[in-house]
């Protein structure tokens, strides 16, 4: 989950009259986890459905509400048009078709505010921006820009000074030589969108990098903010969060005209109205709140609301993109009411509970194996070619079921047998006292016309005298514990010594294999004693 570094000094200024202890105590009840503290800085984790929490401004906004310091929707005053327009070239249509922008005037950004806004921009890129694929942001020094601005495509040879670089680079060079170019270049094909102003200055090469010419620093009073996106709603959602945050930071927000065939002004800050029945909210929460009480709760969540006879009409600020269904309002009511105020009620059961027949039988199998002196092992379903085949000395029977991009090399295929895992477990215990007797119940996977998974049971015994007879006795005991009879029919298997291996048969059907493990496998796993083992399809055996 993303993390915001909140300075307690700033928080005190942004939430008037708040005591720090109280603020820290209440943060979790807004839905924010305190991950840790570092002197004056609290690291706060937020859920990605709340992009408005990506800066301390948003956190302060919500905290002020729940503490009752400021309630209802936060004030947002659009200060009219900026007079700046962005003309959208048709050529961007198939590439990154949407842009939204705003102008923020007469504000001041100190170093800490700049840090917050940069971190916020990164979080928005990763969250709603889906790692810049869906939406990306450029924040510029307005005073370095001359209108009109256009959003168009440039060639790979187009050159400009990218942010943080000293000299001009071509687009190709940016993609190949800069860090962000290499990281995000794959999002572009061979078409390169760019935002360019009236003087021909390159503001940004979305979604890769901004230009150096319009770089923002602590001296900037006026900002130009653009969001480009593959989805218009995403552009508007992200810009709304930025607009609200910059307004909280003390800027006047002015609109920009986007000329894209027809003209529209952004940011779109139009709130959404939603009505919800008080009865519905109470049913979900298990409370009996009046419409007026519900209004009070919603206001503490920084929403505007009006009570009617049996319902409430809520006005949701545009930046609260997480609220789109009446059930979302019910959750806001719960948060505004305070979860700590809700007394849990235990509903008695309308029905009797029971174990599944299969899991009860599996437990009986466990008891039987334990009664035979065996210890239950737990291995992963995800194993490796090395354990399953190379060390065990066996070839896969069908297609190997591998997973894509496993971060752990020892866990990248689904196992098709349990015994190799048990051999690996024995290998980890060579320094422990013998005899060692292990069993495992687990799923194995194989590909037929589809992916089949079935429950197996396997046992492995390892000691100086371990042999076929002992393991067969154990198998017989397991089968007869369930009133089943199994026979063993001479067979061959790469895992077992020739002549000391059998198919386990239930009637005419093979349900497993049993035998003495080959010295090759024993040696590969660096074991020093004989091992005998069986593996049986547990469902086929028991059911």
């Amino acid at each position: 989950m993303p993390v915001v570094n909140v300075s307690l000094d700033r928080l005190k200024k942004m939430v008037p009259g708040v005591k720090i202890d109280r603020a820290l105590e209440m943060l979790p009840f807004v839905g924010l986890d305190i991950e840790g503290t570092d002197g004056n800085i609290v690291r706060v984790e937020y859920n990605p459905n709340r992009p408005d929490f990506s800066s301390d401004y948003g956190i302060a906004r919500a905290l002020s509400g729940l503490l009752g310091k400021k309630t209802g929707a936060p004030k947002f005053k659009a200060s009219g048009k900026s007079g700046i327009s962005v003309r959208v070239d048709k050529k961007v249509k198939g590439v990154r078709p949407f842009v939204a922008a705003l102008v923020a005037r007469n504000g001041r950004l100190d170093d800490e505010s700049i840090k917050q806004i940069i971190a916020m921009q990164e979080d928005l890129h990763n969250g709603p921006g889906r790692r810049r694929k869906k939406a990306s942001i450029g924040i510029h020094n307005l005073d370095a820009i001359k209108g009109p601005i256009k959003y168009t495509l440039v060639s790979g040879g187009h050159s400009f000074v990218p942010l943080g670089e000293k000299g001009e680079m071509t687009v190709k060079q940016v993609l190949e030589e800069t860090q962000t170019g290499r990281e995000y270049g794959h999002l572009l094909g061979n078409k390169y969108p760019a935002i360019i102003d009236g003087k021909g200055t390159t503001l940004s090469l979305p979604p890769i990098i901004n230009g150096e010419a319009t770089k923002v620093d602590a001296k900037c009073r006026n900002l130009f903010v653009e969001v480009t996106a593959t989805d218009r709603k995403a552009a508007d959602d992200v810009l709304a969060v930025l607009a609200m945050t910059l307004a909280d930071a003390g800027f006047e927000i002015r609109s920009v005209s986007i000329v894209d065939g027809k003209k529209r002004d952004t940011p779109d800050m139009k709130p959404v109205k939603m009505s919800v029945d008080a009865g519905y909210v109470n049913e979900i929460l298990g409370l009996e709140l009046s419409p007026a009480q519900i209004v009070g709760c919603l206001k503490k969540c920084r929403l505007d609301a009006k009570a009617a006879k049996d319902s409430v009409t809520c006005t949701i600020p545009r930046y609260r993109t997480d609220i789109f269904s009446p059930v979302d309002l019910a959750e806001e009511v719960a948060i505004g009411y305070g979860l700590y105020n809700i007394e849990p009620t235990f509903p008695s059961s309308p029905v009797a509970g029971q174990r599944s027949e299969m899991s009860a039988r599996f437990d009986a199998a466990r008891d039987t194996m334990a009664g035979l002196g065996m210890i239950e092992a737990f291995n992963f379903s995800l194993s490796s070619r090395q354990v399953q085949y190379e060390l065990a000395g066996r070839a896969p029977e069908g297609e190997i079921l591998a997973v894509d991009g496993s971060k752990s090399a020892e866990h990248d295929i689904l196992r098709d047998a349990l015994v190799p895992s048990l051999l690996q477990s024995l290998a980890r215990n060579v320094h422990e006292e013998y005899p060692q007797r292990l069993f495992e119940i687990g799923k194995v996977f194989r590909k037929t016309d589809r992916i089949e998974e079935s429950w197996h049971i396997a046992a492995a015994i390892a000691h100086g005298e371990a042999d076929y007879t002992e393991i067969k006795s154990a198998l017989q005991a397991l089968a007869s514990a369930f009133g089943m009879q199994v026979t063993t029919k001479a067979s061959q298997d790469q895992l077992f010594i020739k002549g000391r291996c059998a198919a386990v048969m239930k009637g005419d059907r093979q349900v497993g294999t049993i035998g003495e493990i080959t010295p090759l496998a024993i040696d590969s796993f660096k074991l020093r004693v004989p091992v005998a083992a069986f593996e049986v399809d547990l469902q086929a055996l028991l059911l």
Partner: protein
């Protein structure tokens, strides 16, 4: 430690009897006297010493014996003796003595020095030598003694000791070696127990089948065992410790009216994500977090109606939906797809289900992350199920697991609203720990599948509970299968 005569092993009795006269004895002597083998005697001595019935003193002695030069001197006389003998025979100058062969050239100095020290000779004018009285010197005394064999230095007479000290100064005369000696004697406690041993009737060590069937047992007494001595370790077969916790959880669920369900670990993207209203471009669906089976996909295992309605909800809520994503094959990231398919098939009016099963995450394995772990999940549905009920169920569930302090915080899951996370207080760690997540299924989840009533759901990983229970710092230990742990971890732990 027992000093009851009846608890003594026969070996111990034999040793005590052999020592009853009060003398000191070596192990070998004891073995001879008691009819035991040296090894039995050695073991018995160890046991008795531990019980304080005998005392063992270890002393070391130095045995001295003649070396090559010494043996020559014993045979032919010390150089000074040979000198005085030659003088007495009339060889009155050193040249004559040497010419006679009585001394070798390199012995002259030693012979002269020794003879003068003993005042056996005196030198006259012109180097003539005359012999005086020549009684046996202390060195000769020692020489004679050692010529009979090696001797314990401490047992020599004072004169012999003095002679030996002088001989030791001569190179090649004397060798000495340290010899350790164990002497065993009975203690007061041992002596006190002797009468009891001597008055005992013959005892049997074992109750044999023959004693039972023959009826001889009626006339036999049995030797007492040292019932306080440690016995060798044996290790019972057992279930995996995590299974103990799984069983406990299942019992609690059944007790709360929940029935167990189970389903495949391999799921479609449709049931694992789409039907749970997780947007198709949600980061959790990426390969970095979720395991997809390489190169496999399958037709969405759902009815046309279900697919149509689920995809419609996605288009409305998230602006798009692609069948391809729904067809990908995923190792379930939670057990909820199993629960949901069960609910979609049954559409129960009122029901409580639970499942415990493995789930998968593409993590780098570390002390706190596994690729595969157990998730427990419970769902309850009734026409009037509410958040308060969910909190109540959760609290009761925890109470039955012995967890009393619980609090709830808001959180977010794509498929539940409202969503809560529960924090429980752990006394051992003395802090609040995040445990299960919970919520009410969103209408976007239930409506497309025709589920009418609100569904309360909660769940989370079991390994975290196991770590707290078994006091583990590394989650990998649970799957390490180390016998040192599996053989020692208690079955019941508070």
């Amino acid at each position: 430690m027992s000093s009851d005569a009846s608890a003594l092993h026969p070996i111990e009795r034999a040793i005590l009897k052999a020592l009853s006269q009060g003398e000191q004895a070596s192990i070998e002597a004891l073995a001879g006297a008691s009819g035991l083998s040296a090894d039995q005697a050695r073991r018995g001595v160890e046991w008795l010493k531990f019980k304080g019935l005998i005392a063992v003193s270890e002393s070391s002695t130095f045995a001295v014996s003649l070396d090559a030069e010494g043996r020559g001197a014993a045979q032919f006389g010390l150089p000074e003796r040979r000198l005085v003998r030659a003088v007495k025979e009339g060889r009155d100058t050193m040249a004559k003595v040497l010419a006679s062969g009585a001394l070798k050239g390199d012995e002259v100095n030693a012979a002269v020095a020794g003879a003068r020290r003993n005042q056996w000779i005196q030198f006259g004018q012109g180097g003539t030598i005359s012999a005086l009285q020549a009684p046996q010197s202390p060195e000769e005394l020692a020489l004679v003694r050692l010529a009979k064999g090696s001797a314990d230095e401490s047992q020599l007479s004072e004169q012999e000791k003095a002679g030996l000290a002088l001989l030791k100064k001569r190179p090649g005369y004397i060798t000495s070696s340290e010899q350790k000696k164990t002497q065993i004697s009975i203690t007061e406690a041992g002596r006190a127990i002797l009468p009891a041993i001597e008055s005992e009737k013959p005892q049997e060590r074992r109750l044999s089948p023959e004693l039972i069937t023959s009826g001889k047992w009626k006339n036999v007494e049995f030797s007492a065992l040292d019932v306080e001595a440690p016995a060798p370790a044996v290790y019972p077969g057992r279930r995996h410790p995590l299974v103990d916790i799984i069983e406990e959880v299942k019992e609690i669920f059944v007790g709360l009216g929940f029935s167990e369900i189970d389903g495949p670990m391999v799921q479609s993207g449709f049931w694992n994500f789409d039907a749970l209203f997780t947007p198709q471009d949600h980061p959790a669906r990426e390969m970095q977090d979720t395991f997809y089976i390489s190169g496999q996909s399958q037709p969405v295992p759902a009815s046309k109606d279900q697919i149509a309605k689920v995809s419609a909800v996605h288009r409305a809520g998230w602006g798009g939906w692609d069948t391809k994503e729904a067809q990908r094959i995923v190792l379930r990231t939670h057990t909820t797809p199993v629960t949901l398919q069960h609910l979609a098939a049954q559409k129960p009016g009122s029901a409580r289900f639970f499942s415990v099963g493995r789930v998968f995450r593409n993590e780098k394995v570390s002390y706190k992350h596994l690729v595969e772990f157990h998730q427990v999940e419970g769902v309850a549905t009734t026409p009037k199920a509410s958040l308060r009920d969910l909190m109540g169920l959760q609290k009761e569930f925890y109470a039955r697991m012995g967890i009393k302090k619980v609090k709830f915080w808001p959180t977010f899951f794509p498929y539940t609203e409202p969503s809560l996370q529960s924090m429980v207080y752990n006394d051992r760690l003395q802090k609040w720990v995040e445990l299960f997540g919970m919520g009410i299924f969103r209408p976007e989840v239930t409506k497309p599948l025709g589920i009418k009533n609100p569904v309360l759901a909660w769940g989370g990983g079991l390994e975290r509970i196991a770590m707290l229970r078994f006091n583990l710092d590394d989650v990998r230990d649970i799957y390490g299968n180390r016998l040192s742990w599996l053989r020692s971890v208690p079955r019941c732990q508070s």
